[in-house]
């Protein structure tokens, strides 16, 4: 078996040094080594989106990303986005709209939604639905999530104008 490799990265702003096997994926690294269990593993083959995290500002499937690929990178998880307050308004909209039930998809869903909101100021419902189509939710039927993201986009636009 291949020996562990050293990696150095930032996770939610903190410096992390670790030894990882080359085959270890980022999701397992975050969950099992760093105990950041907010990143969820739903399918382990890149379909469901529950493991979505940000690497150097771009959202990725952490189950399809190897931990060694994040050497030198800046990784952000749901714990980081929550503590920084970056998505406090989005989370509040989810709360008000009951846009989560079991909550298992929610960290990945919030990651993907924030990614859309960062890049587009006026996404319509169809655009929101399209952007979130890589994140499966089995509980809500999606409508409440779309509503919450739509509201957040509007509030952010209005607060800037």
């Amino acid at each position: 078996m291949t020996a562990p490799l050293p990696i150095f990265l930032r996770v939610n702003g903190e410096r992390v040094e670790a030894q990882v096997l080359p085959r270890l994926n980022l999701a397992d690294f975050l969950r099992e080594q760093l105990k950041l269990t907010g990143t969820h593993v739903g399918c382990e083959h890149g379909v469901c989106g529950a493991c979505t995290v940000r690497v150097d500002g771009e959202i990725v499937r952490s189950c399809l990303t190897l931990a060694v690929q994040t050497h030198g990178a800046c990784v952000e998880t749901i714990e980081g986005l929550s503590d920084s307050g970056e998505i406090a308004d989005l989370q509040n909209a989810f709360r008000q709209r009951n846009a989560l039930q079991c909550g298992f998809c929610t960290p990945g869903m919030l990651m993907a939604a924030q990614d859309l909101l960062k890049h587009e100021k006026e996404p319509d419902r169809a655009r929101i639905r399209e952007h979130l189509s890589g994140n499966y939710c089995r509980c809500t039927g999606y409508q409440a999530i779309i509503d919450a993201v739509e509201v957040t986009a509007r509030v952010r636009r209005e607060s800037k104008s």
Partner: protein, 797 residues
């Protein structure tokens, strides 16, 4: 909202000032889940915990000739490799039958297979190692020698003489058969103006909980106690079953259930690999964790809905439906599941067909057969989608035969809103339903006539849109009639304990469980309202057999109606007890006092008298200052189970508006409407979201979801890329409306709402597709309605 106060107003237990009942309030504890700080079983780690991975059969039916694990046992990190034989002394086998399902038979099932395997995915050995990766590495080199046998895969030939019998001791592959013949069916068909018939075919599908099944079992040999951390809907059921088969007392088993990543009925059963995990912990005297991966989920989570149902309907030219007749066939895999059995779905189909209508002539047969595929059992809305699709498909066919609008034929046959109480032809007792009010509301919400006009206009442009209507009834609030009478140790009653803590807040322990439906919220809403305290001061504890009262849990749409009523009754007692103490402290009378906004107040005028915080301080820390003879009881417990009716039936109607692309076969869902009646609405938003989520699971079945097996019983699409579930981009907005007919069985008046969406969604879609395709003269009675199926029906491919 059409909810209206009950007759005891102005001061019933529920409709007090600042009541939370009927209000949209955010669920408590959402922040935990939104910040990634929940605790799902898959997140859990314990000291000395080891990981179990199962070696699973690649064959649907085979004898196990040999298992060679000596090389695998030498792999780094491997603690043990355990076969079925090695668990024989630890855990006993089980048989998934219940006595009220007469004639149901099944074979003993073991935690890990011994000697033979009966479906692709059945576990033949467990590898336990220090990490899951190490266990998977070792599992790869466990060598199992199989003698593959001919698999029984097609339910249609499962009972043929030439077909192998899966369990020779049972004599044949028939697990269960039920027949019913009510009224004058033959005469009705003989006298009919028109008869329509079809075979309805349903795709086998599964729940796809986003968090797979997960369990951590922790046998503490020193305490002789097993703690099971499991994502389950029924902790006390798990406690009972684990104790029974491990040779323990229930007091030696604690089941803890924190956050659960989706359940939908998938996590209300006892699975062989979970039993094996409990046993492995006992055998190896350490915590063992098993988390299914996605392939295992598809191969071992219960499947459902694998039915072929022939149906016939007779109708008079005036629209009167005179008879229904069905012949249902379903294949449940090699074993009836434990402990709820796999005959329930077919039994429900027999019960529910024709349910919304007043038709008195009804004949049904249902046969449940074994096959070498993964097990089938109860998944959300058990039997309802089958019964609804058959019933509503037949009603549309009948309407078409006599040239009547689909809404009109329903108006003429739905049970009248003033006909209650009454019973269906199959014997279901209805306390109070509202089919016509629901249909009228639906017509207004969807603007039916305008849609029909739009449909006609677009047809001229070769755009094919359709409207589908589906009325339904829904089984909720089950009493002991569901399982208990058949001998299952599955509680139909639930209990709630409420207590005032030392700072005047409320701690509430409930036996219903939370998987995202909002059990905690509705409990806190009821407790807060009845007691007169803020919801933020009510903390709800659930999912722990050491801490909560005994009860059934959350399934079959029972949490609000049964657990909610227990919460209401317990809180009434606590309120009375608090007022007794307050009266003593204040030298007043309990009848002159009330509780509002976290304080005891004057009943007349509402002037504050003493804060609950202060009252609690006195009771707990200065009882010496209370008058002699006063012993405050600031904790109360009550249990509840419905007794008058075996089930609280609800009703509703759905409509679907969609477009079929006749060139590609793709269906675009444009809009969906639901009107349902679950009685008292505790939190309208949560009810609406239950409906929407349920609808989308039904839409998945209608258009996408199917477990595709080949003729050898191999599941060919056991991954999320090939097994399609609804994505946000292809789902419509869903409008939800309510009619409110509270049940008189409880003071709360709530019925369930968890199955309603799933019950009727597929039927509405299928009727809409056939409505869209009407100009082509084709009718499809199979789901999922894939492009291939539609193009084949249109003879385009």
């Amino acid at each position: 909202m059409t909810s209206s106060p009950k007759t005891q107003a102005p001061l019933s237990a529920l409709h007090r000032p600042n009541s939370y009942i009927g209000r949209v309030v955010p669920r408590p504890n959402l922040d935990r889940l939104m910040q990634g700080r929940g605790l799902y079983v898959s997140d859990l780690e314990l000291p000395r915990m080891a990981h179990a991975v199962f070696v699973r059969s690649p064959h649907a039916r085979a004898n196990i000739a040999a298992i060679e694990a000596s090389t695998a046992k030498q792999m780094p990190g491997v603690i043990a490799i355990v076969t079925g034989e090695e668990l024989v002394s630890v855990i006993t086998p089980w048989v998934g039958v219940l006595s009220h399902l007469k004639g149901l038979k099944s074979a003993p099932q073991r935690a890990i297979a011994i000697g033979r395997v009966c479906w692709q995915g059945e576990a033949v050995a467990a590898v336990v190692a220090t990490s899951r990766a190490a266990a998977e590495d070792a599992a790869d080199i466990v060598s199992v020698e199989y003698e593959e046998l001919e698999a029984v895969t097609d339910m249609r030939t499962a009972l043929d003489l030439g077909t192998p019998v899966i369990h020779p001791s049972l004599g044949d592959n028939l697990a269960f058969e039920r027949t019913l013949d009510v009224g004058e069916v033959d005469a009705a068909f003989a006298d009919a103006d028109e008869i329509a018939e079809a075979e309805f075919v349903f795709g086998r599908h599964t729940g796809v909980t986003l968090e797979p099944r997960a369990v951590v079992a922790d046998w503490n040999a020193a305490e002789a106690r097993l703690t099971i951390y499991q994502g389950t809907q029924a902790p006390h059921m798990v406690q009972n079953i684990a104790a029974l088969h491990l040779g323990l007392e229930e007091s030696q088993v604690r089941v803890v259930c924190k956050d659960v990543g989706g359940s939908f009925g998938i996590k209300v059963h006892i699975y062989a690999d979970e039993m094996a995990t409990y046993a492995l912990s006992k055998l190896l005297r350490r915590p063992i964790k098993f988390v299914a991966d996605r392939i295992e989920s598809f191969n071992t989570d219960i499947h459902a809905r694998d039915h072929r149902c022939r149906g016939r309907i007779s109708v008079r030219r005036d629209g009167t439906i005179t008879a229904f007749e069905i012949d249902d066939l379903t294949g449940i895999g090699p074993y009836s599941m434990y402990p709820r059995t796999s005959a329930i779905e077919a039994n429900q189909v027999v019960n529910l067909v024709g349910g919304p209508y007043g038709t008195k002539n009804y004949r049904a047969r249902a046969r449940v057969v074994f096959q070498n595929k993964n097990v089938m059992c109860q998944y959300r809305a058990v039997g309802h989608p089958i019964a609804c699709s058959v019933t509503e498909g037949l009603v549309d066919l009948a309407a078409s035969k006599i040239g009547m609008d689909p809404v009109e034929i329903r108006r003429r046959n739905l049970i009248a809103d003033d006909a209650y109480p009454c019973a269906s032809a199959s014997g279901l007792r209805f306390e109070l339903l509202s089919h016509h009010a629901a249909l009228n509301k639906l017509m207004a919400m969807m603007n039916y006539d305008a849609l029909r006009a739009e449909q006609a206009a677009l047809r001229k442009k070769n755009i094919h849109r359709g409207i589908g209507i589906a009325s339904f009834i829904e089984v909720t609030n089950p009493s002991a009639a569901f399982y208990g009478v058949g001998g299952a140790k599955i509680s139909s009653q639930d209990g709630v304990a409420v207590r005032l803590d030392a700072q005047g807040s409320v701690v509430c322990q409930t036996s219903i469980t939370e998987q995202g439906q909002g059990s905690e919220s509705l409990t806190a809403q009821i407790v807060g309202s009845v007691l007169g305290v803020s919801m933020s001061r009510v903390r709800v504890i659930s999912g722990d057999t050491d801490q909560t009262p005994y009860g059934g849990g959350t399934w079959a749409s029972r949490g609000a109606g049964i657990g909610g009523e227990a919460a209401l009754q317990a809180t009434k007692i606590l309120r009375r007890n608090i007022l007794d103490v307050a009266a003593a402290i204040l030298q007043s009378s309990p009848t002159e006092l009330d509780i509002a906004d976290n304080a005891v107040v004057n009943a007349d005028g509402g002037a504050p008298r003493i804060e609950l915080r202060e009252l609690a301080r006195i009771v707990y820390f200065r009882p010496d200052t209370l008058p002699p003879g006063i012993q405050p009881e600031l904790m109360a417990t009550r249990h509840f189970v419905p007794r008058e009716y075996p089930f609280a039936f609800t009703n509703g109607v759905q409509a679907c508006w969609l477009e079929v692309d006749t060139d590609t076969g793709f269906v675009k869902l444009l809009k969906h409407w639901v009107v349902e009646d679950c009685g008292t609405l505790i939190n309208p938003q949560l009810v609406d979201e239950q409906i929407r989520g349920g609808v989308v699971q039904g839409l998945g079945a209608a258009l996408f979801e199917k477990c595709i097996h080949d003729e050898r019983g191999q599941l060919t699409n056991a991954n999320m890329a090939d097994y399609l579930v609804p994505m946000s981009g292809e789902m419509p907005d869903i409008d939800v409306g309510h009619v409110v007919s509270p049940t008189a069985e409880s003071e709360l008046g709530a019925k369930g709402a968890g199955e309603a969406g799933t019950a009727g969604a597929a039927a509405a879609v299928a009727n809409a597709v056939n409505d869209a395709l009407r100009p082509f003269g084709t009718v499809i009675t199979e789901i999922p309605l894939t492009p291939q199926l539609i193009l084949t029906s249109l003879k385009r491919i």
